[in-house]
Amino acid sequence: MRWIWIDTFLEFHSGKSARAVKNLSLAEDYFAEHFPGYPVMPGPLILEGLAQTGGILVGEANDFREKVVLAKIPTARFHREVLAGEQMTYAVDILTLRAEGASVAGKVFVGEELVAEAEIFFAHLDQARSQQIFGDHNFVFSGELKHLLGLARAQATPARSASEG
């Protein structure tokens, strides 16, 4: 299974906010077990999608120099279950952005309906207690996520309208 829980960016405002889409497809493996005959997206996976939207928003604000890690979820609320066949929109706003870390507020919609919301707090890895040393390679943003953002920027017409960064 891939570990990418957003499908495309709708909007990206550097250092401020982003909106991304996640389509729930029965072709996704986990639906077979969660639950048999009732394909619900697990709440924690919804949080991962929010964290990916927020993480790249925070990472991009620092030009991907910092390794952004999920440190805390002060609150997450799931208002209703979301099923295969639905399309979610992740809307994330930056609350605080600093050298040491950042916090974001995220809301998840199906159409106009608010289905989940969470506050997410990121630390920069060097600020967290990890003892690891990695040099300059930023593994956090080496993958699909950064590619998606590039795609959003390339598609933006006029140039940079989907990205003010």
Binding site: K72, P74, L95, T96, R98, E100, Q127, A128
Partner: protein, 132 residues
């Protein structure tokens, strides 16, 4: 300018949010780590929330210095903070109540300086300065 009591009440509510503790558990003397279970990530969360709550800027390391002594032998000897170290602490954290700590200045007790009262005094000083 809010009263000290108002500041304390807001600080207390901020800690309820950041640490998910009951308000009951919080007293002015509660230590953030020992009594309220704050872990390193929580200190940054607390700083963010205080900034939003009081509309102030808290520069990095001002409220919660990250590493004061860096193992410098002038400041620490045999696990105890020296006279010079105590002076450094007071200079860095004028808002800390050092009285009890000075009687037995073991490095391992430094975290006990970080109480709810310390935050309250820090915010109070901050608001007074920004007013002038």
């Amino acid at each position: 300018m809010p009263t000290q009591e108002e500041i304390y009440s807001k600080v207390s509510a901020t800690l309820v949010e950041a640490l998910n503790v009951d308000e009951d558990e919080i007293t002015p003397e509660s230590t953030l780590q020992g009594d309220l279970g704050a872990e390193s990530i929580d200190f940054l969360d607390i700083v963010f929330r205080l900034e939003r709550e009081f509309g102030i800027k808290i520069p990095r390391g001002e409220l919660f210095p990250e590493s004061i002594f860096q193992g410098d032998p002038e400041f620490v000897q045999d696990g105890r903070v020296t006279e010079k170290g105590l002076a450094e602490l007071k200079a860095r954290m004028p808002f800390a109540d050092m009285e009890q700590f000075e009687q037995n200045p073991e490095v391992s007790h430094i975290s006990d300086l970080f109480t709810v009262d310390l935050i309250t005094r820090y915010i109070q000083g901050k608001l007074e300065t920004s007013k002038n």
